[in-house]
Symmetry: C2
Subunit: 286 residues, 2 copies
């Protein structure tokens, strides 16, 4: 290929995907590849070529945490069933050292979790300094599934927008860089992916009859996502909306967002907190 694949980002992923308040989510083309002028093969090539840099950046973050630094990164993944959150974790997060990753999936709250406020389990899962935290679903479900299924009265869940923003501002102020990604597949693509789960015995475990109920409420979910995006995309915790009908694009896009986030920390290698020459002499004598 003559052109370096990264040049195929005509608009950087960060700019092309960052949510602009008031954009009509209903009009999103889930098959689009915003910002990217290349083909699938180019995308896969670029993604593979990012692996060493991503691993290097993550290791710097980890080293920073081990030497008293306070920075961490939190990747929040939201999306309806089959949107590809799991694939992002496997293929993007899977490129870095598992020692530096804190992954948490948030499902229906357990009995213990229900005894606390909804942010309790979220706080417990926040990345420690030096770590890349990954949330598969998150505190934002409080204005998604909770709203759509009327698990709380409107006057209660309406308060959560402000609470979410205040919480994230606090998390960001403590040193955590927050990157929020919402993945969207079209209704037709979702149907195909659910059909595959029903066809293949090795995918049955991923299928939940409740998925069809969610499908029947798609318009309500889109409305809930629209308001969530409009109200909780902030400077310290922006939302990126990623069309995900093309899995390779979604993975490439999140790779770019994550790489960009880690780069923005501008972390060098921590300086030695010991005298190198003294230690060399001690080692030589040992």
């Amino acid at each position: 290929m003559a052109k370096k694949p990264e040049k195929l980002w005509q608009t950087p992923a960060d700019d092309a995907l960052r949510w602009v308040r008031g954009t009509d989510l209903d009009a999103l083309d889930e098959s689009a590849t915003p910002g990217w002028a290349g083909k699938r093969r180019d995308g896969e090539e670029l993604m593979a070529s990012r692996a060493p840099e991503l691993a290097d950046l993550q290791e710097r973050l980890f080293a920073h945490g081990r030497t008293g630094g306070d920075r961490s990164v939190l990747l929040v993944l939201q999306g309806l069933d089959t949107a590809g959150k799991g694939g992002i974790v496997r293929h993007v997060v899977g490129m870095v050292d598992p020692q530096g990753v804190q992954h948490t999936g948030f499902g229906v709250p357990t009995e213990e979790e229900k005894e606390h406020g909804y942010l309790w389990r979220i706080r417990n899962a926040l990345p420690r300094p030096g770590y890349l935290g990954v949330f598969d679903r998150s505190h934002h479900e409080q204005v998604l599934v909770v709203r759509v299924n009327r698990l709380e009265p409107q006057k209660t869940w309406r308060k959560h927008y402000r609470e979410l923003n205040e919480f994230e501002a606090e998390v960001a102020a403590s040193g955590t860089l927050i990157v929020k990604v919402a993945l969207f597949v079209s209704a037709e693509e979702q149907k195909e992916r659910l059909a595959e789960r029903l066809e293949r015995p090795d995918k049955h475990w991923k299928y939940d009859p409740g998925d069809i109920d969610v499908r029947s409420k798609l318009p309500q979910y889109i409305a809930a996502y629209q308001e969530m995006l409009d109200r909780t995309s902030t400077d310290v915790a922006p939302w990126y909306v990623v069309p995900a009908n093309r899995k390779w694009y979604a993975r490439l896009a999140v790779t770019e967002l994550l790489t960009g986030a880690l780069r923005s920390l501008e972390l060098g290698w921590p300086p030695a907190d010991f005298d190198v020459e003294t230690e060399k002499a001690r080692l030589a004598a040992s």
Copy 2:
């Protein structure tokens, strides 16, 4: 290559590495490649070829956990500084989906941890059903660093052998398959690896002046390891002793041990707990 690389295991890793009580640890050749008749390149080739199977086996375990199963796997990694525990996590555990991994590194106990018994933090980190737990250091430090540095009187740490075995019997009975790996590098190899950490600014953060103190106590550590291996290698939680001067061999060996452990669970894909045809009809109508 004419021969399939897995044939180069003349003795399966499980047999070649499993600790036999009373073996003289002092006589271990840390540069040896027990059971393996191939070269480095063959080993790397075999390891790469295991990746799809290892990922598949781990996904079956995860699916099992998601559908009510109680099995999990716990990989315990022990070894002195520079033995390569981190490399095992990155290169072996890194082959499977990070969603299914629970990794915990155990360092000097925190103040909160000190307020509890030494097994408290271990219990909190045990893998949930369906997960691959990885311990970088473990409860066995209670008969290693605690013994060598005399952090407890002898009559106290001597009791831990039995406690460790009882604890692991309980963990195994709850459904967790335990694989314990002790990695050993020679004193010369350790010196080289520490020297590299001192030479390279990107490795300074991995260096701790205390590493030299540990080095000065190598004979005491080897004695502690000897007794730990002899007394805590049990049928339900066997120790595997891996010579680790050759990183490629140590990684290959742990790949084989982990693959073998997962295979031994003989997990198929969980059957559907819903009527597939009914769901296909619901999906089609949705």
